[in-house]
Symmetry: C2
Subunit: 433 residues, 2 copies
């Protein structure tokens, strides 16, 4: 019987069911290994579309997919819904909230979390968006603050409820600011006829001189123009110096009163306990060699957002995007089998297929190497690529139906306050991840 | 300007945006009144499909609809997202968490909540399903207990995790038990190949001698047979005597170890503070006259589940179903205008269009007066009627797509643990409503 025989195959523990972990596990199907995936969620999250959940465009369930279902029928795969606590390399063990597990090979594919650059007040008062519960919290906060603005009589407090500040001009920040402005233009005037939508301001604060830093100058320029066309106030070469829950102080000394600070200013690796501090480099990532091996170990690997593969060619490592994680997952599957078979592993090479970002209806930017285009066609390409990358036919179908519906109706599906957000008691607990 | 003129029109406050409140407000459009609706949620919940959310068949967002959107463009309508605290009839005022509001006419359309018949332990340990957050809690509990069953080594504890007890053989209980059994048959074996699904038991406990008490004997018999075909153990003339979180004691002395008690055994009216206790009758409902007026007041009304219109013809009042609430809402709109115009109100007459319940794929029962049918055709009728009653074209479309998908794929969309449910700290707080 396959099951009892497989007990003697080497056991590979994968921590994390993101893009990298999934590709790795998939590519180990039919190999003579046992795969155990651990994740604190029982589902995979399609993070590139989280901003549409946060702004009421899509249901949470459409961009998530049960991990067990992804691996339905894969005989050498097991899943445990567990929170990893500590790695014990000397014992080849991983402790979790449901007990200890032993590995022959361990892969850290834990991804990244919001980076508040050490500020406890920013972490406390701003709203991050890296998980589905966080996106739902953000949706609730936006809608609850609009409800509150309706009944607020103090003009400064009302202004704070209607000012939205998005931090970080990467794809997430740009997409979030764009989606907010479409809410403001097409949806909120109908929902809140009592509010004057001219009072609602959307700011995008970016530290560097341009938005979409890693993209081409054309894409940077176009997306900046698109944002301004949509009424977003883009503040580049600007940082948030402080935020006390009511007022942002910017690096140039200017202030914005706001109760809505949507944090997408940076990410840092999620490193489990037990990885020595000297392996952790800039951005809280784990330094790996060209085989994704954590330096100093021959049985522990890291892939995706949490891994920093710093080489002469790539002094800053790879960008923190899904294709890097997916390619590293695929590649590591090959390498782990080679290592088990006592063959030399092959170095990882990233094939950059391009990058894209969307600002709003008919407004997106696409860089495919030397081929660059912006506007309507780019927007359709963006939608097509994202639909195709979504896991599961039902999700593709439901998202497609929603997008077609929104396109023709200028409407969005879903703006329910399902997880009421209590600002007064905003603690680690209420900010469920 | 219409707005300033309307300030002098009588103000009608409607507490609750359920089926009754919505029909009332809709039917007051273009009348010379101001309508203010108060609801603790910013959305209408289509309660008849909550069980599909709880069992992973539908997204929460597909069966809810933003209240503001329902009344988009209705000039004499305002909505406030507020929790009503107390009614002060002598001052014609309603106090809420966001301040006081004054009315000329007040309509209590607060619906019903789960009835635990005074038992604090049942309320504490069982899982109700009257709101979207509760349905999501139930979904999380079911999935978390299955995950736990996988790793539980104590056989009795494992049995408790795999025993599901649904209390109450009304439409909700029947539909929930049926949906659980379809999960067990078609979905869970693929998701949990490590669990032996024969160990999973589903019990339906009903106090009276038959399920679906108010329906025809044919429908009662068929639904009972359908449930047994699906493997549900139907225990009629049986009650839950006690439950301590681990073990149910039944009224015949038998015991079932279970961590999953899904409570649909009864409802009681949600009566705001300030309604005198002598107006409240059996089931926690408010006694109203044939004009839906609360006895003793000429400016306070109650409609729908919270109202008990007890007459010679109807000694038990009307059934707690959507059509009663909707018809009372429509009718009260006419009566309020008549009362404002100093005309005599007209007595309410319920037009019973029939009732239906579904047990599972191809298995439903329908009573339309003397016309009664069961099985596949009834199931299609049930789906058609529910689709048509859903608010909003997008919701109809998304639910339709999901149902068609499930029908052909024997699959269900969504089984994510998005609101992790912590049994240890199960308090009023974590049981968010």
């Amino acid at each position: 019987m396959a099951t009892s025989k497989s007990v003697n195959f080497p056991r590979i523990i994968i921590i994390g069911g993101g893009f990298g972990g999934i590709q790795l596990a998939k590519n180990l199907e039919d190999k003579e290994v046992q795969v155990l995936m651990l994740d604190r969620h029982n589902y995979h999250t399609f993070q590139p579309l989280l901003y549409q959940v946060a702004t009421g465009g899509l249901e949470a369930d459409s961009i998530a997919y049960p991990l067990r279902k992804i691996f339905k029928g894969q005989k050498n795969f097991k899943f445990r819904n567990a929170e990893v606590e500590t790695i014990f390399p000397e014992r080849k063990a991983v402790s979790t909230n449901i007990g200890e597990f032993y590995y022959d090979y361990l892969v850290v594919a834990t991804g990244s979390d919001s980076n508040f650059f050490g500020s406890k007040t920013l972490e406390h008062y701003t709203m991050p968006m890296k998980t589905i519960p966080e996106a739902l919290n953000m949706r609730s906060m936006i809608l609850q603050n609009l409800e509150e603005a309706l009944i607020e009589t103090d003009p400064v407090k009302k202004e704070a409820l209607l000012n939205f500040v998005v931090t970080g001009g990467g794809p997430t920040g740009v997409e979030l600011a764009g989606a907010l402005s479409e809410l403001k233009r097409h949806i909120l005037p109908k929902d809140y006829p009592e509010l004057d939508m001219h009072d609602m301001n959307i700011f995008l604060v970016e530290g560097s001189p341009t938005v979409l830093g890693p993209m081409s100058p054309q894409s940077q320029r176009s997306s900046h123009e698109f944002l301004e066309e949509l009424g977003v106030k883009v503040l580049t070469s600007m940082r948030v110096a402080s935020y006390d829950g009511d007022k942002i102080v910017l690096s140039d000394g200017n202030e914005i009163v706001t109760r809505n600070v949507l944090w997408s200013a940076g990410v840092r690796g999620v490193v489990p306990e037990g990885i020595p501090a000297d392996k952790i480099v800039r951005g809280g990532k784990i330094q790996v060699d060209v085989f994704n091996r954590i330096t100093g170990y021959d049985d522990i690997f890291a892939i995706g957002d949490v891994a920093a593969m710093i080489t002469g060619e790539n002094p800053h490592g790879h960008p923190g995007v899904a294709p890097v994680a997916m390619q590293q997952g695929q590649h590591l599957a090959v390498n782990i089998v080679r290592i088990i078979n006592k063959e030399a592993p092959l170095p990882f090479k990233y094939k950059d297929k391009g990058s894209m970002a969307t600002v709003g209806r008919n407004r997106a930017v696409v860089d495919l190497g030397k081929i660059r285009f912006q506007g309507v066609f780019a927007w359709f390409v963006w939608m097509f690529v994202h639909l195709m990358t979504l896991v599961g036919f039902r999700n593709k179908l439901v998202v497609f139906v929603n997008w077609v519906w929104s396109y023709f109706s200028y409407d969005r599906g879903t703006r329910l306050i399902i997880r009421p957000f209590n600002r007064q008691s905003m603690t680690e607990d209420t900010k469920v991840k």
